[in-house]
């Protein structure tokens, strides 16, 4: 496999910076000049570590065109994500391809609530920023199990009109789930769009809540993928009764139309095999 590598691809994918953000959450700045240049908010990459590693999708949190780097924020949950997180500055990510998926539809909607949970905050960062730049009032609800797991608060506060922190245990911000924070905002003012990124179960409940108040909602889905270019169909979800591919039709969909229960079952498909 490495026999094919040209000087161009060999000089890429080097880890320039590694930072531990919280228990199990690592931030990497990776040299990837072509992706840094072409990526837009909402895009993702596929990463593979080692010759026999698994291909897994990761969202892009940020990029630096000048330095030719992209920022990846990864939570160690499975074997493959742990393997990536074990890499250090100076190491190379064996394979990195992107940007994949459709970019987020950005326009001036009015007031946008960005509801994110855990590492879902990372891909939300460029989206929220772009929404702000388009003239929206942007309210970010950051949620996590506990205060130590809240990430990127400072970055969000640097541009957002308001940042609401929610923790399950009340150790930081308000005690309660992400939906509690979102509902507060909806009860207080007119919300034109809700964007949600996080665990599938969280997005399901954000979507149900927003639907109750008839707030249009977009969810960014993170399903199982192999190639990430439409070839395998592992990522398929039912949206509005139709089968769609997250990798090329998404990753963002009208959340009210997404069959989250089916998605949750499909996410567990290989659990017994890992």
């Amino acid at each position: 496999m490495h026999a094919y590598k040209t000087p161009l691809s060999k000089s890429m994918n080097k880890i320039i910076k590694k930072k531990i953000l919280s228990e199990n959450v690592i931030k990497f700045e990776v040299e990837a000049p072509l992706i840094a240049k072409s990526r837009k908010p909402g895009h993702f990459v596929i990463v593979k570590v080692g010759k026999f590693g698994e291909r897994i999708p990761l969202t892009i949190a940020d990029s630096d065109i000048q330095n030719g780097t992209i920022t990846l924020i990864i939570q160690q949950i499975g074997k493959s994500s742990r393997k990536i997180c074990a890499l250090n500055e100076g190491d190379y990510i064996t394979d990195l391809v992107g940007p994949l998926g459709k970019a987020t539809h950005i326009e001036n909607f009015g007031t946008v609530v960005c509801a994110c949970g855990g590492v879902g905050t990372a891909p939300m960062y460029p989206i929220a920023q772009a929404m702000k730049q388009a003239g929206n009032k942007v309210i970010v609800v950051l949620a996590a199990r506990t205060g130590d797991l809240i990430i990127m608060e400072k970055e969000m506060r640097s541009f957002a009109d308001e940042v609401i922190i929610m923790t399950d245990d009340g150790s930081y911000g308000q005690k309660g789930l992400v939906t509690f924070g979102v509902e507060q905002v909806i009860n207080r003012e007119k919300v034109d769009l809700c964007v949600t990124i996080g665990p599938a179960i969280m997005m399901k409940f954000v979507s149900l809540l927003a639907k109750k108040y008839e707030v249009p909602t977009v969810a960014s889905l993170n399903t199982i993928m192999v190639d990430g270019t439409g070839m395998c169909g592992a990522c398929r979800v039912t949206v509005g009764g139709k089968t769609r591919f997250v990798c090329i039709d998404g990753p963002e969909f009208d959340a009210h139309q997404v069959n989250f229960d089916e998605m949750l079952m499909r996410l567990n498909a290989y659990k017994d095999y890992e």
């Binding site: 161009l8 291909r55 079952m265």
Partner: protein, 485 residues
């Protein structure tokens, strides 16, 4: 020199004339067609070793004698890349195997691949003069494989002659058969060719699609290495239209682009339960195994090891999937096909091999629903029995439902192999490129030029799901047209 003249000149070489005189045609026709030696069916149904073992030198020379070296070789009209078939076959007959391999490479960038996966019975061999004499055709495919394998095993692989470099940069999107064939021809013409591949391995469908037991990856790698020796550059993990745009390619000085991104989108039937876990596309199943090595202990990609596996479809991909499932330990590995065996599009050899390996053929059955357990895992499939009616647009008899003839079958894995659609990635990112209602790129039939004058396209992105050799033919055609321009 035009092709006809060239063929005539080649045929008139003294050694060819001598060979023709050395044996009477009657005696040549009397030789029975060679049988390809293969692994024992019981052993191989549990092993990933290549099934066909290849001819011995004696078998190959004997088979080559069957060829009559026709003055107007009709076999060549059946070959999409126009291999000089009599020239390579006669070189085998006179025991100049390395010369035979060179003759193959005059027109084909991948002879060891084609000798293994081409549907010869529908192409070159279907035009063989023997068939007109009620005799079996010359085993051209087996001989092609023999010559290519012999050259490789002898370690004396020839690199085709190249024209002087003209320094013109050409980009290829996709490293499957169409892209590789195009790259080989353009390198021969003297261009500076770079192939961009989206995946982490070169070879496209030859790597992710076709299993080891039919086409070992190491064979594909050898052919790719020859292209590298010819100066073709490969860049993996780079998606044209995403990582690098049409405009970026211009900026980097590329003067021509060949789009060969394949039919990357698996089709589904849109029936209830199709999104249960344990129902997957053949692309996903085969990619997990062939590209990611999910069947092996030392890799991290998981795959389902089904015991009762149904594959939906009757093409080569369906055969590859069902035989893979059998090798991964399926007790019951079934083909579920809505027409009868006669209408199956798969190569005859694949159907034969599948049957020998204990594959169950449920023809005239069509799935109408999948039923899952409480965890959303497939557990049963509902089948509608069919019968054949009047011929349809494809000329094959249309399968018609038999009212009320429905049965339910226990399964723990279903692979959907009912075809693929073109990958929308490039068409959606190259503005000015026009596509048909099926999503295939529209090209000029003669030149394969698209509506963007510097972009040509071929293979499944234009055809919408065909064969390795047709894709390779497109690669050659586009290269010739781009070179002329």
């Amino acid at each position: 020199m035009d092709n006809k003249e060239y063929l005539k000149e080649e045929r008139n070489e003294p050694w060819r004339e001598e060979l023709r005189k050395s044996m009477k045609n009657k005696d040549r026709v009397a030789i029975p067609r060679v049988k390809m030696p293969e692994l024992d069916a019981t052993y191989r149904s549990r092993s990933y070793d290549e099934v066909n073992l290849g001819l011995s030198l004696e078998q190959a020379v004997q088979e080559a004698k069957r060829c009559l070296d026709c003055p107007d070789p009709s076999c060549m009209s059946g070959c999409p890349v126009g291999v000089n078939i009599p020239k390579f076959v006669k070189n085998i007959e006179r025991n100049e195997i390395l010369e035979a391999a060179k003759a193959l490479k005059e027109t084909s960038a991948l002879p060891a691949v084609c000798g293994r996966v081409c549907p010869q019975e529908k192409q070159c061999e279907s035009q063989c003069i023997h068939l007109k004499m009620k005799s079996e055709s010359v085993a051209i495919g087996h001989l092609e494989r023999f010559a290519a394998d012999y050259e490789r095993e002898k370690g004396s692989i020839s690199v085709p002659q190249l024209a002087a470099s003209n320094g013109i940069k050409i980009a290829v999107a996709g490293s499957g058969p169409a892209g590789l064939s195009f790259a080989g021809d353009m390198a021969k013409y003297g261009y500076d060719v770079t192939v961009f591949e989206a995946l982490h391995e070169i070879g496209g469908v030859l790597k992710y699609g076709i299993p080891e037991f039919r086409l070992p990856n190491s064979i594909v790698d050898v052919e790719i290495n020859i292209l590298q020796k010819m100066g073709v550059k490969f860049i993996t993990n780079c998606i044209v239209g995403k990582t690098i745009s049409y405009e970026d390619l211009h900026e980097q000085g590329f003067k021509g682009i060949f789009v060969a991104t394949g039919a990357g989108l698996p089709n589904f039937m849109n029936i209830p339960g199709e999104n249960l876990s344990g129902v997957l596309s053949s692309n996903e199943y085969l990619t997990r195994i062939n590209l990611m090595g999910a069947n092996r202990e030392d890799t991290e990609t998981p795959v389902f090891f089904g015991k009762k596996v149904a594959i939906i479809g009757g093409g080569n991909t369906a055969m590859d999937s069902v035989r893979t499932a059998r090798r991964l330990g399926a007790d019951k590995a079934m083909i579920v096909y809505r027409r009868s065996e006669e209408e199956m599009p798969a190569r005859l050899e694949e159907v034969k091999h599948a049957k020998e390996e204990g594959i169950i053929f449920l023809t005239l059955h069509n799935p109408i629903e999948y039923i899952g357990d409480e965890k959303g895992r497939i557990k049963q499939m509902v089948l509608q029995k069919m019968e054949l009616g009047e011929p349809d647009a494809s000329g094959r008899r249309r399968p018609v439902e038999i009212p009320g003839a429905i049965e339910t079958l226990d399964v723990d894995l279903v692979i959907v192999a009912i075809g693929v659609s073109p990958n929308p990635l490039i068409p959606s990112t190259f503005s000015g490129l026009n596509v048909s209602k099926w999503g295939t790129i529209i090209v000029n039939q003669d030149s394969l030029q698209t509506d963007l004058s510097d972009v040509y396209a071929g293979g499944d992105i234009v055809r919408g799901g065909a064969t390795v050799i047709l894709a390779m033919g497109d690669g050659r055609k586009a290269a010739a047209a781009m070179h002329k321009k």
